[in-house]
Every structure is written in C-alpha cells, then in structure tokens.
C-alpha cells in the first residue's frame, strides 16, 4: 500500500528508501559509466574538420563546400570541431507527485531523480563541464534553492547537498505560470550549447505544460526529458476495486484496476509518445525510467540521449 502523503503547500519529505545515502549511491552509479564517453564537442567554427551537412539558409557562406557543389550539385556546408565546455543544467520536478513511492519501489520518484541527477553531475564534473541545478516547482516564490553552473567537485558537492535537502510541494496542474516561469529563467541562464536534462514524471501537468517545456529545446540548447515513473504508475498494480485520487489536481477515479490495467497502459504509452514526439521534434530526446530500473543503465541512456540530442 502506498504511503499516504499530504499534498499542498507543505513541503513533503522525500522517502529515500534504499537510495540513501545519495552521495555514495550517485558516485557508485557514475563509476558504472565510462567517464570519457561524454565528449563535450560542439560543431561549428574550429580547426578540425568535422564533416559536412546540407546547407540551410543563413549559414555562413564561408563554409560552403564548393567541391561538393561541383561534384554532387548539392549545397553542403563544411563543419569543423573544436573542444569546448558544455554546460549541463539539471531541472528537477519538485512538485508533490514526485514524492510518491509505491509499495514495490526502492524510493520516491524525486529520490530517484536526485540519484540520476547527482550521478549525471558526477560524470559532467569529471569531464570538466559546468553543472547547474534548477527546479520545476509551482508557486510564485521558489521554495528550493537553485545552484548556478560551476566547475569541479565543489559543484558536485553543492548540487548533491541541494538535492539531499529537496522537498516536494505544490500542484503544477493548476499553476499555469509555474512551468513558464521556471522555463524562462532556465532559458535565460543557459548559454549556447547547454544541455538541459529535465527529470520529471511528466504526469499531472496542465495541458500547455509540454509546449512550454519545449522552449528549453529551442535555440542552441539540447533538451533531454527523463520520465521517471513508480512501478505502480507503470503497471497500475492495484487489485480489484480501487478509488484513486490524483496527487495534484484532486481528480478522483473509482475503477476496477484489474479490468482497466491494459487500457491504462495504453493511455500511458500514448502520453509518453506525445512527449517523445514533441521533444524529438525539437531535436531533443526522451528517456523512460522506472524507479526500479538499474540506475547505471538509466544514466547510460541519458548520456546517450545527450549525445544524440541536437547539438
């Protein structure tokens, strides 16, 4: 039986469960990943040829590959590589639904998001990339302290500390401005070439939330959505007749879990696909994760998604 949590303005403590302590768990997850697989590379002006791509209006005509035009009668642009830092922004959903922990989960969704975020920070720090932390939280005033992007192990310590003290609160479903406010702030801070990893369950969001989030994928930024679900949310593992109450939004549904399980799974898959299509349309990627999944595998998938996201 799921632990009952109170939803509202009150900050809900996070059920860390088996994920605690976060620092140790994050380092162990990070060590499971090859530290050098992440190369912070940005194609564009540089000294080392980095391949070709089709010409799009607005490209610098200096890089137009005339040989390709003559040989293939196609407009191609030459690209060069240069090694540079690439800022990683973690955006963690701290709404009330992230405090949920089902009976089969090792910890709350927010705890799992913190684990992935901290491990990702550890990997980025090892690659000499700056890492920053921001929250997706409702309310006019931010309840959780953000961390500006910085280098080194100190950045890991700061971000881990903030993640450990995280609390969930608020209802994103009825706060139409909350996401927009958070997104705009993050968009302002993130520089060109930044990678934004949004850790959220992508549930209980209002209707325009997805469109607002896609702002983060626009321009020179790469957006990776990591959808973190509890096993019970993935499988609807209730038995028989059950009365379900939404953690955010106050929606109540009485249903027969055994009878609607397959239909629920279809709806959830549809919802995830909508998110995936939206983010991929903007060059981003979506990674699905469950709190019972191996964190190392999820971290690899996130790193792979970062590498594949539009540069």
């Amino acid at each position: 039986m799921a632990t009952q949590r109170r939803v509202g303005e009150n900050l809900l403590p996070i059920d860390w469960g088996a994920i605690s302590p976060l620092r140790l768990s994050a380092q162990m997850v990070a060590e499971g990943v090859f530290a050098g697989m992440h190369r912070s590379r940005r194609r564009g002006p540089g000294v080392e040829f980095g391949g070709q791509r089709p010409y799009t209006p607005g490209d610098d005509l200096r890089f137009l590959d005339r040989r390709s035009l003559l040989r293939h009668d196609r407009l191609m642009v030459r690209q060069f590589e240069t090694e540079t830092e690439r800022t990683l922004w973690l955006c963690v959903d701290a709404s009330a639904s992230m405090a949920y922990r089902g009976p089969d989960a090792p910890g709350a969704k927010l705890a799992y998001a913190a684990l992935i975020g901290a491990a990702l920070t550890r990997v980025a720090v090892a690659g000499q990339d700056p890492v920053g932390l921001t929250w997706l939280q409702p309310g006019p005033e931010p309840l959780l302290e953000e961390v500006t992007a910085s280098f080194g192990f100190a950045a890991f310590e700061r971000i881990t500390s903030r993640l450990e003290s995280a609390r969930a609160a608020g209802d994103l479903s009825d706060d139409a401005t909350a996401i927009d406010r958070s997104v705009r702030t993050l968009a302002r801070r993130s520089r060109r070439g930044s990678v934004i990893v949004l850790l959220s369950d992508l549930l209980d969001l209002h209707d325009d939330a997805l469109r607002e989030l896609m702002v983060l994928a626009s321009g020179p930024r790469a957006l990776v959505l990591v959808q973190i679900l509890d096993p019970r949310e993935r499988d609807l593992s209730f038995r028989g007749k059950v009365r379900l109450k939404s953690i955010e939004g106050g929606r109540v549904v009485v249903t027969d879990a055994d009878a609607v399980r397959s239909e629920y799974r279809e709806r959830l898959a549809q919802h995830t696909d909508v998110c995936r299509v939206a983010v991929e349309r903007e060059g981003g990627r979506l990674v699905e994760a469950c709190t019972t999944d191996d964190a190392v595998g999820v971290l690899r998938a996130v790193l792979q998604a970062i590498a594949e996201a539009r540069r």
Binding site: M1, Q4, R5, Y100, P103, V260
Partner: protein, 689 residues
C-alpha cells in the same frame, strides 16, 4: 421435533452469518493517491467481486467458531449412549462391577450384526470405568459359577480397565446371588459412602421365578442393560454316557422352547446324533421340552473307529453353539457310590428304602448307588466306586482298612458314620488310618449343632440346631490329628470332621443314619450333606465328568498337565495352578468339552459339562428400583464443555494464523517494515497521511 431440536437448528443457522455478513458488506474501496489518475479510465464496480469470498479460510474458521459456540451452549443437552453412573452430590463412588461370564452370555445381544451379550456387557463396564473420576474405587466380580473376584476394590482405574479388557466369556453356569454377595463384601472394605453394585448380566441364572436380587447392606444395586435380558432359545447336551452299546443322553432346553421358537421362527425340528468322526452312529428326533433323557443304541464301532471318540451333537441352530456338542463318557459317566449299612437299622419306621438311598433318589444326582452288605475286601471291587458310605459298622478288618486306604488315596471319598456299632468294634477292628483314635457312644447328646461353628452346611443349616439324637459318638483325637472340624455339637464336640488322605477325602459323622438314633436324616442339612459328598467325589476324580467351572485338584503329583481337545483335535493348554506350598495343584476348566489330563505318567480324560441351568435363558425378575434412572443410564449427560472450550481457543489461534498468512495483512506488514526502514520518514507524518 422437540424444542431443543428446533433450538439446535436455529443455532446451526448462525453458521451462515459470516457468509451473509460478507455478502452484505458494502464498504467503500480504500482511497489511493496516484499521480497518473487522469490516465486511469473509470470503471463501475464489478458486482461479481462483491459476492466473491475474499478469504475462504477465514470464513471457514469463523463458521466453525460459531458452531463450537453453539455446541458449548448446548453442552447441558448433549447426550450420548454411553453407560454412566448418576452421581449424588459429586461424591466419590465405590463401584463393584458384577460381570456375567457364563455360557448364556455367548448369545448375541441383538441381531446378527451385534456382538455377544458378554461383549456388550464388557463394553458397558469399560464405559462405566471411563466415567469414573480420580478417587473413585472399582472392583470386578465374575459371575460365572463359582463367582470369582477378578479385581478387589482399587482406585487404580487403569488396573480395572486392564482386567476388563482381559476378561473372556466362559462356559460356566451362573451364580448371580453369590457374585452380588461377594461384591458387597468387597465394598465393605472401602471408605466410600456411595457404594454401588452394577450387575451386567442377562440375569439367566435358571431362576425365572426367583425373587429379585437383594442388594447387600449399605450398597445400591443397579441392573442396567435391559436389552441383554431378552429370552434366547437354546438347547444343550448336558451329558452323554456310554455303557456298552447304549448312550444315555440328557439334553436341556430353554423351557417353552417350542412355543417361543416357533413364535420367533426358529427351526424346532432338531435331532440328537451320536457321531464318531463324521459318521452318525445313531440319531433321534429331539423333544425340546425342559429336559430330555434318552438312550440311543449304537452299533459296535469298526476297528478303525474303536480308538476314535464319540460325540453327541444337536442338529440345527440355536442361540448358543458351544453347548450343542458334548463328548461321550464311557462307563464312568455315572458316579458309582457304595453304601454299607445295616438295612434293618437304617430304614425309616414307615418302611421303604434306607434314608440315604431315598436321598440319592430324591436329589437325582445321577449316581449309580450300590448297596453293600460289607465293605469290599478286594481292590478291584473298590476301584469301581467313587464314593463309599459306611454307616455305623463295627470297624474294618486290617485287610479292608488297607484296601480302603489305598482306594481313598487314589481319589475315593469315604464317609464314616459312627454309632453304637462303631463304638463296639471287636478287637483288631477299627478305622485306622482313615480314623485314628477311640470311638465311644454316649447318651448325653446335646441338642442341636452349633451354627457358629458351621463351616459346611451354610444356608442348609436350617433345623440342625434342634436335632435331638438319642446319643452321639465321641472321639478321642490327639492334638495333632489331621481332621478339620466342619461342624460342632452345641457343646463343642465334633459333629462332622473331614480330612484329606492322598487324593481322596475322609468324612466322619458322629451320628449314624439310623432314624431311631436321630432325626438328622430328615433334615435339609442331610440332603446338602449328601449332595456335597457327591460333588466332592466327582471333583476328586471319582468320575470323568464335572460341571464346567468346578475346580479339579491334583495332590501328590510331580507333573500335572491339562489340555482341552479343541476344534480339529487341536490341543488347548489349560493353566494348572500350584498351591503356595507346592503340594497341591488345581485347574478350573472354563470351557465345555473333553480334556486330557496327565498326572505324572498316567494319562486320563475328563469332561467338563455344561451346567444344566444355563440352557434356561429366561431372565430372573429385576426390581424396578434396580434399573431406575436415579442410579444411572445409557443416556446420561456428558460434560464436554472443556473440550469445546479448547476447540474454541484453537479456532481463535487459527484465525490469527490465517490473518498473518493472508496476503492483505502480510502486505500491510511489509509496508510497516519498509516505513520503519526509512530514516527520514517521521512516523507522525505517515500517520497523518
């Protein structure tokens, strides 16, 4: 149906209460928080789930608990068919069980499917023992003739139970009066206030018209098991004696056999057959009245059959099969008794045969009486006798004395009556070694025999205390004389003396049979006296046949072996009991039939015959108060509340176990464990949630 039946049915309906409660339960489902609620399609509650039994084990346990409660509530009304005593005020009880192990108890208790009367009685006795409580005393008396104490009064109920379990039915006669008397004596030795005697018998002791049994003083007599007392129809061969080619047969049947058997549909066409092996030598249609005496002539057996034993059997079937066959006793079947008396002096004044001969005839003792003028002076003449009565003769010659002494030592029974003639024995004559000492006849006879000193006549003593003889014999016996004084005159002088001589017995009466000298021969005690002598003569081996149950004594033998010819001539060993001093041995055959007796190197045969009265299966009367429910019954209440209470506790424990094993409860326990493992989850918040 009675009110209690309806009440029990009503309580039984309560079993459905947990099921109905489950079906009527309409509690709302538990509310669960769920982030993806908006993706969950709503679905109306499925009616089928409401009717489904969620936890069958729990439902079963609760239904059983209600049943147990119903039984607990109905405990005062729980009855069973177990025989049990009714207690008065809860005091301890001293119980004497009189268990009839006689032949008539071999009859079936009811239909063919039911056990014998004895098994039914023994089972009831065990049930009675089961109902006894610590502190109660039990004793067991077997009522087969002669009655025996199987177990004296004891509080060791396990010993009583073991005794009952080892008890077996016999072919003995029945002596309920003596058995009840013995049971009363056993109860005298215990301190219990509440003393009960329970008679478990068919009450068929040959006395249908006899008065009901009298309870001993201080004890209550209870005769339950009325179902054992129905009449059964039986005939049995009492004796079969062969003299040459003649076989004298006596068959005893239940009185009114024909009428009752025809009424019961039993075949009354029965025949008596004399058989050797499988061949029938002679047969005769049986007259099934009370008793039938008949003599059948048989052909001379062939050479091959000369060594085989003859048997008399009855055709057809009746209640008891064991007494339908009896071995034929050659010659010695009848007891041969010799009487030496002066015919002129021993005849009654009214004429007729001497008194002693009249007594033999009146008692119908099946004795072949041989009047003798003198004591036989040849051993072969004495060898044919089992009993010799010498009535007031002037002594025996030395040769006679030697022969008679040898004859007695071989098992003969000698009665010497002393009168004026015996007191005037000529020189050289006497009774030594049968009787040492001088015999004197005196006129100063006191009046009557002392009843206090009587060890012989018992209930037949009536009238002996006022006999008025004209004189009596006096004996000058030394202090070391081997005689036992069985009865004394009122002045203390010996009236009747007895002693053993070898295997035989010598009795000395200090009165002659002459009716002119005394009126002893017309008293009841005289009949008893003669009957005892005959019985003793039969017992000591003067004849090959005794009634089953009578003790055979064997004195002076080093090796005694007794075996019974069983089915198919298989030999069944019979226990021979040695006396404490080791000089005497005895055995009590419990079964009808032919026995082989080995005394040192001599092998003889003996026959244990059925008691004639056992064929009469009609029960004697039982007083109403002796079968009243105030003493006990077969439907007494049994307190089983403590058993039910233990069952209820077990059911409660079972419910706890079922709840622990139930998935719902075990899931809650897992949640609790997990919450306890979360250090940052304060319990107050969890409770609030």
């Amino acid at each position: 149906m009675s009110f209690l039946t309806w009440a029990a049915l009503g309580i039984g309906l309560l079993v459905a209460v947990p099921l109905v409660a489950h079906l009527l339960r309409r509690r709302p489902p538990d509310e669960e928080e769920f982030a993806a609620t908006r993706l969950v399609p709503a679905r109306a509650a499925v009616a089928q789930r409401k009717t489904a039994i969620e936890d069958r084990a729990l439902l079963a346990v609760r239904a059983l608990a209600i049943l147990a409660l119903a039984v607990l509530g109905a405990t005062p009304f729980v009855k069973c068919s177990r025989l049990s005593l009714a207690r008065e005020g809860g005091a301890s009880v001293a119980l004497a069980i009189v268990l009839d192990d006689s032949l008539s108890m071999r009859a079936l208790a009811g239909s063919e499917a039911e056990p014998t009367r004895f098994e039914r009685a023994r089972k009831s006795a065990l049930e009675l023992l089961e109902g006894l409580e610590p502190g109660d005393a039990a004793s067991i008396v077997l009522a087969g003739d002669p009655p025996r104490v199987a177990l004296a009064s004891t509080t060791n109920l396990d010993a009583a139970k073991a005794t009952l379990e080892s008890a077996v039915v016999t072919d003995r006669g029945t002596d309920l009066e003596s058995a009840v008397k013995i049971a009363g004596e056993l109860l005298e030795s215990v301190e219990h206030v509440d003393k009960r005697i329970v008679v478990l018998s068919d009450m068929a002791d040959g006395g249908e018209d006899a008065p009901p049994l009298e309870p001993p003083a201080g004890a209550k007599l209870w005769i339950p098991l009325q179902e054992l007392r129905g009449p059964r129809y039986d005939c049995g061969v009492v004796q079969a004696d062969r003299t040459g080619v003649s076989v004298a047969i006596r068959v005893a049947c239940t009185p009114t056999y024909v009428a009752q058997a025809e009424k019961a549909g039993v075949d009354v066409e029965r025949r008596v057959e004399v058989r050797v092996g499988d061949r029938v030598l002679a047969e005769h249609k049986l007259r099934v009245d009370d008793t039938s005496d008949l003599v059948l002539k048989i052909p001379e057996p062939s050479d091959s059959e000369s060594e085989m034993r003859l048997f008399v059997g009855l055709t057809g079937e009746d209640a008891i099969r064991e007494n339908d066959t009896a071995p034929v006793v050659s010659i010695g079947g009848q007891l041969h008794a010799g009487v030496v008396s002066d015919a002129s002096s021993s005849r009654p004044p009214t004429g007729g045969a001497p008194m002693v001969e009249q007594v033999f005839s009146a008692l119908d003792l099946h004795v072949q009486l041989r009047p003798l003028s003198t004591v036989p002076d040849r051993p072969e003449d004495l060898a044919g006798l089992s009993l010799l009565i010498v009535d007031d003769i002037p002594g025996l010659t030395p040769g006679q004395r030697r022969d008679v002494a040898d004859w007695v030592e071989k098992g003969g029974v000698l009665l010497l009556t002393l009168g004026p003639s015996a007191a005037h024995a000529p020189l050289g004559s006497g009774f030594s070694p049968m009787l040492e000492g001088l015999v004197r006849w005196t006129k100063d006879a006191p009046k009557g025999v002392d009843q206090q000193s009587d060890q012989f006549f018992g209930e037949a003593f009536e009238g002996l205390d006022d006999i008025t003889p004209d004189g009596r014999a006096k004996l000058d016996l030394g202090p070391d004389n081997p005689f036992e004084v069985a009865a004394k005159w009122s002045d203390g002088a010996p009236f009747l003396l007895q002693k053993k001589l070898g295997r035989g017995q010598v009795s000395v009466l200090t009165l002659p049979f002459d009716p002119e000298k005394s009126d002893f021969t017309v008293r009841l005690g005289f009949l008893h006296f003669i009957h005892r002598l005959v019985t003793t003569a039969r017992t000591l081996g003067g004849t090959a046949r005794t009634t089953v149950g009578q003790t055979w004594t064997f004195d002076g033998f080093d090796r005694v072996k007794l075996e019974r010819f069983g089915a198919g001539d298989a030999m069944e060993a019979v226990e021979v009991i040695a006396s404490p001093n080791g000089r005497s041995r005895s055995a009590s055959p419990n079964r009808i039939g032919l026995y082989e007796l080995t005394l040192d190197d001599t092998v003889t045969t003996r026959v244990a015959a059925m008691a004639e009265g056992e064929a009469d299966t009609r029960p004697r009367r039982v007083a109403d108060e002796q079968q009243g429910e105030s003493l006990g019954g077969v439907q007494a209440s049994v307190d089983i509340s403590h058993y039910v209470a233990i069952a209820l506790l077990a059911l409660m424990l079972a419910e706890l176990v079922v709840r622990l094993l139930s998935p719902r409860w075990s899931g809650q326990a897992a949640d609790d464990d997990r919450d306890a493992a979360a250090p940052e989850a304060p319990s107050v918040d969890r409770d609030a949630a």
